[in-house]
Subunit: 719 residues, 2 copies
């Protein structure tokens, strides 16, 4: 269905250019020049009310006059004529539009209204639309040779699918593709993404063999959960790379919880991309460098890199980069070393990095690579070349490409610190490996290849469904919102956690000695006793907090002593009761919680808690719902994981139980989607059992949504 629809746009047999023009430097003229110049294999029908000849083709006054069926219409007319043009297209039976014209949502209110009408019309007419306010589309496959853009240069043929949310940027990229040594299979400038967006393109390209990797430039994500569903599936089949901009602009909204204040839209975007297996790049430069690597390298079997060089300094720098990007320096086998030793001079080093020394002739490059590429301890190879008397860069490149061709399974990257001429020369050739100027670029490339390998190997993960007491949780929340409280009390919050099987610190409120003792016995010793009073806020100062109470007897004593002390000080009247609380011993304070992003929805946080939370910011976010694998990734990705493993003689934490805590929280926010913020801080790691225990908890809901969802009428008369 989607394929059939988008094929009309991306693989058309006939196109109309409504607004085609013979006037130089207009979009209507440039677009015609690209279509004809790139030798579109189908038929092109220019449409212009004045008729005439445009790029050697007869122009028709209206699209209705075209004596042929039209698959795709480019619309390049002034915004005010677009609606009537769409009507004509409908009359003509056209199903695919690419609206290049600007003057819609991007210009303000009036334009937005026009776009809304246009959208309605196109939906009604069953048309699929690229744009408006876009740069056009490209399909470089020789069956089509479609360049429907107005970029200055004709596209390079290749196997990348590229979606750009910025029109000018897309055009800029098309112009420099050749310099970048990259080629596109298909390109869609989605513009205002009135209809077709990044997700549409992802889905369309999923089974399109000509598109071997997908690149996205995004400023926003239309439908995060749909994006996640699609991207996490498709990224297992082909690499999906994204440049998501607008990081700094996204100021975190004023939030009352820790989780909320550490969150923010970019954290959400990052979580979403990570969970979806999308490789996120932070600059166009890196995006293209990575694309170049995926264009010319297979996915490796592991992360062990061998470096072959004719110069020591760059070998050292390459080693630094390999290690810093988290790769392993391969342990060259003894056999490989012996072979290398047999032909390399004595001053050469046959340990990794393999330094053949500056005078290495072409033959040493060949023999060394042939030997090393066959070594089973080596997954990827960097070949470094620095000019030396008489040895030509292009000869070295050709020699290593010849050897590489016999080992299609191992990525090889060339680092050639030589003149631009070489790179220009290479960009005109068929290559089977990428070449860069600097070792750091190659190292980053290896890192990305390895990231993709790990993603492919990563199990799918499951979203478990635990047996929880949903009704009880609902009752507690219902009570709170009926009171007009969007913020649950600590006791309520802990109760909700308990209802969801989350290990929380046991406690209760007692107002007389019998209740105190009953609670103590029920919770089990040791316990903590804390007074609650309307009049005394500094509990500790008046002896109102008693810790480490070991027995019923001691509890009784402490309670009596408290009453006596308060009476003595004249403070007894304010006393509401005492909280008897399980005493959890542990020095490791973690945090977990939920924050809600207006666009991405609820997201989970896990990390180092206590006083360090906002100083260290050692936390990790993922969009809910979590799979078991997501939850484990979160736990392992914070630095504080070392503390959980049992650094410095502490008991290893129960990682599975912490994972389950996160998964149960995820289930909670799935069930009650109006939970706005939730903080468990600290999630104390019990020194005795290694469990993570919620010692404090707070839950905040979005009042209106909660009232609606639970069909509650609030008593507070304020909502």
């Amino acid at each position: 269905m989607l394929k059939e629809q988008l094929d009309k746009i991306m693989c058309p047999r006939t196109v109309a250019v409504i607004g085609a023009s013979a006037k130089e430097h207009t979009i209507g003229s440039e677009l015609m020049k690209r279509l004809t110049g790139y030798k579109f294999t189908g038929k092109i029908y220019p449409v212009n009310p004045k008729g005439g000849i445009i790029e050697g083709l007869q122009a028709y006054p209206t699209v209705l006059d075209v004596p042929d069926e039209i698959d795709l219409a480019f619309i390049v007319v002034n915004a005010k004529f677009v609606l009537q043009t769409i009507d004509q297209c409908y009359e003509k039976g056209i199903k695919g539009l690419c609206i290049v014209s600007a003057g819609f949502k991007e210009t303000g209110k009036e334009g937005a209204e026009l776009e809304r009408q246009m959208k309605e019309k196109c939906e009604q007419y069953g048309m699929r639309v690229v744009g408006p306010n876009c740069m056009g589309v490209v399909n470089s496959h020789p069956d089509y040779n479609l360049d429907g853009t107005f970029a200055e240069t004709l596209p390079e043929r290749g196997h990348i699918g590229f979606v750009s949310q910025s029109g000018a940027l897309g055009g800029g990229i098309l112009n420099i593709l050749k310099d970048l040594n990259l080629g596109f299979a298909q390109f869609i400038s989605i513009g205002n993404q009135m209809d077709i967006n990044a997700e549409t393109a992802l889905e369309y390209w999923e089974n399109e063999d000509d598109v071997k990797q997908i690149l996205l430039y995004m400023e926003s994500i239309s439908n995060p959960s749909n994006f996640r569903k699609l991207a996490s599936r498709i990224s297992k089949k082909k690499p999906v790379l994204a440049l998501k901009s607008g990081r700094s602009a996204a100021g975190a909204s004023a939030a009352s919880s820790h989780t909320g204040s550490l969150a923010g839209a970019d954290k959400a975007a990052n979580a979403l991309l990570t969970q979806s297996g999308v490789i996120r790049e932070y600059s166009l430069k890196n995006l293209f460098a990575t694309a170049k690597v995926f264009s010319n390298c297979p996915i490796p079997k592991g992360n062990r890199v061998a470096i072959i060089t004719n110069s020591g300094g760059p070998g050292i720098m390459a080693t630094d980069a390999i290690c810093e990007y988290g790769m392993q320096m391969a342990q060259i086998s003894d056999k490989t070393r012996e072979t290398l030793r047999s032909f390399l001079p004595s001053a050469a080093s046959v340990k990794n990095p393999i330094d053949m020394i500056a005078s290495a002739p072409l033959d040493h490059y060949k023999q060394t690579l042939t030997t090393v590429i066959a070594d089973e301890n080596v997954d990827m190879i960097m070949v470094i070349y620095l000019p030396f008397l008489g040895l030509k860069d292009i000869d070295v490149a050709n020699a290593i490409m010849e050897i590489k061709a016999q080992h299609p399974e191992k990525p090889v990257i060339g680092v050639f610190m030589t003149k631009n001429e070489f790179f220009t020369q290479i960009s005109d050739m068929e290559v089977n490996m990428p070449f860069f100027m600097y070792a750091e670029e190659a190292a980053e490339g290896f890192m990305r290849l390895d990231q993709q390998r790990r993603w492919i190997e990563r199990p799918e993960g499951k979203i478990p469904c635990y047996d929880v007491d949903k009704e009880r949780a609902e009752r507690i929340i219902r009570t709170a919102i009926k009171d007009g409280r969007e913020q649950l009390t600590t006791l309520e919050s802990i109760d909700v956690l308990n209802a969801y099987g989350i290990r929380a610190c046991k406690y209760g409120l007692a107002t007389n000695e019998q209740e105190v003792v009953d609670l103590g016995n029920q919770i089990g010793y040791p316990v903590v006793m804390k007074m609650t009073s309307k009049t005394t806020s500094h509990k500790t100062d008046v002896g109102g907090v008693r810790v480490n109470i070991q027995s019923e007897e001691q509890l009784r004593e402490e309670y009596r002593d408290l009453l006596a002390k308060l009476t003595e000080k004249g403070l007894i009247d304010g006393l509401e009761g005492v909280i008897i609380q399980e005493m959890v011993k542990g020095s490791r304070e973690m945090v977990c919680g939920i924050a809600t992003d207006p666009q991405y929805g609820p997201m989970m946080m896990f990390g180092l808690g206590g006083v360090f939370i906002e100083v260290m910011k050692d936390v990790c976010f993922r969009i809910a719902p979590l799979t078991d694998i997501d939850a484990m990734d979160m736990i392992k990705s914070v630095k504080a994981y070392k503390l959980l493993e049992g650094a410095r003689g502490t008991k290893p934490a129960n990682i599975e139980q912490i994972q389950e805590t996160l998964l149960r929280l995820s289930q909670l926010v799935k069930d009650f989607s109006f939970i706005d913020e939730l903080d468990i801080n600290p999630l104390l790691i019990s020194e005795k059992t290694g469990e993570g225990i919620a010692v404090d908890g707070r839950i905040k809901v979005r009042m209106k949504e909660a009232l609606n969802t639970l069909h509650v009428e609030c008593d507070c008369h304020c909502c």
Copy 2:
């Protein structure tokens, strides 16, 4: 003196090439070709035993046959003839050598011995030497036109001084200079740096006006303290950029202290470069990008950046990059905004980033830059250009350079996402600003300019000299080493700290009730009492630790109770006494200490202590001795500084006192340079006073060195 000596090498009037050759692809031939090809302004005398004509010049059998005085001799003969060649040079009265020949230290033991002899000879003869095993020297000043290398390409003229420790790398760089849009004033390939090294070059270039910035590629630093002295002075006059490689190879040595285990050679190198005002780059790519920025930009007055763009997407990406590199987005003044509004279309955005929209004609670029560059709220400007119908990149570049020329005080960087052709074109022109393809490169450039600004503005700093009880510290150390203990006891360590005026937790050992009470009274309450016993290791389990003792009376009670409990349990015999210790209340645990790097000497550490030290690694290193500014930099550069400032309602720490603690420690290791490791962990921040108090301390010395320095004979018979 140094100038006179190095002028012989870098600014010679006459050069001899000993080992000159007419045979193609030999170094002796290539070097002659460079010298003549670059049109050396002095005289060239090829020397070859066979005589003959080389590059049109008559060759002499030996240097002694040359009928002229020689300033600089290049030596290109086989290693085994080098010694006798040096003798001949001496006889000829030559004072400057550039030994290109390889086959010395880099090849192993024999070569090292040969180099040693060579060094001895040259020192004896009063010669200054570049090399051996090097690529040669360059001075592009038109008074000299000296290209004494064998790189493939002739050097570009410019104002960079470049020192390369890797010969092949230096050659590689010379080859690609033009592509990089960079020019060198002088280049020295120091090779095995037998005599002349990076420090020599720094000092020589300090007052050399033709050298406007200094670039160093280093694998090691010969004399760190001399480097620091020179670089910190010279970097205030001109930017000094360094690429220091070998980061990963430097495995931290097995160390027993925290400070030691977190240290390592690269931490030391990093500290040294930071303290010296050297801008450290981590890749050649970044090194050259930064050099390009310094070549064409003044030092700005602040860090407020304005962005002018004709495309929204790149504007957003640029904003992201500016913020991430720690710059400020300039607040454009109202007046500027009004002016911009007067000529830009309504769809344009006149807030920073200023988006002139895609259709911006050349004139809008001109008017916008003219307006923005005059705004006092703007310190630096990024001008972004993406190709749009009919607007030529080179026209935009020329227009903005013209405006920039009228504002020499403000850095402007162009981000032109256009074809390589443009950059090739620009590299052949005189430019007054740098151009890059991507916004991130420009942002990084601004960041480096700002870093240099802050360094220039940074006060020199003083190394204070406190009034300390050095003799007492020496006595304590003497006692320990006399016992054969390289590790001081905690009590001894604390005593040494006390002697140096470092605020340490007060405590003492008592063996009877009277001593207990005396100590308690002396220290002041509250105190902690801890038993020390030969037989009981788990003090807490037997009630052997009593905290928060508030009075003499309570102390007496607790002591008696302890004795009673131990007697009861039959553990009284093992009791050695009790430690009475000041009770410091505080939740913030910092760490400070000293570690020694075999090459860089003692270095100081400061950071977050306690259980987080090795998990969070939130620590900062500086080489000793510290200036007051260094110490403050250390404190402010760790994340935990926020905790010290008083996050979450805690009392702000006494920063000056912590600074003084670091400075006193620095003085300690200056006075006792054999201190190998010192740990104060935790340095507890008192909740009462905000002071940092050493609650635990350990000092370890290098035994042999300590014995020698203090003239002690050890009693242990093991040393």
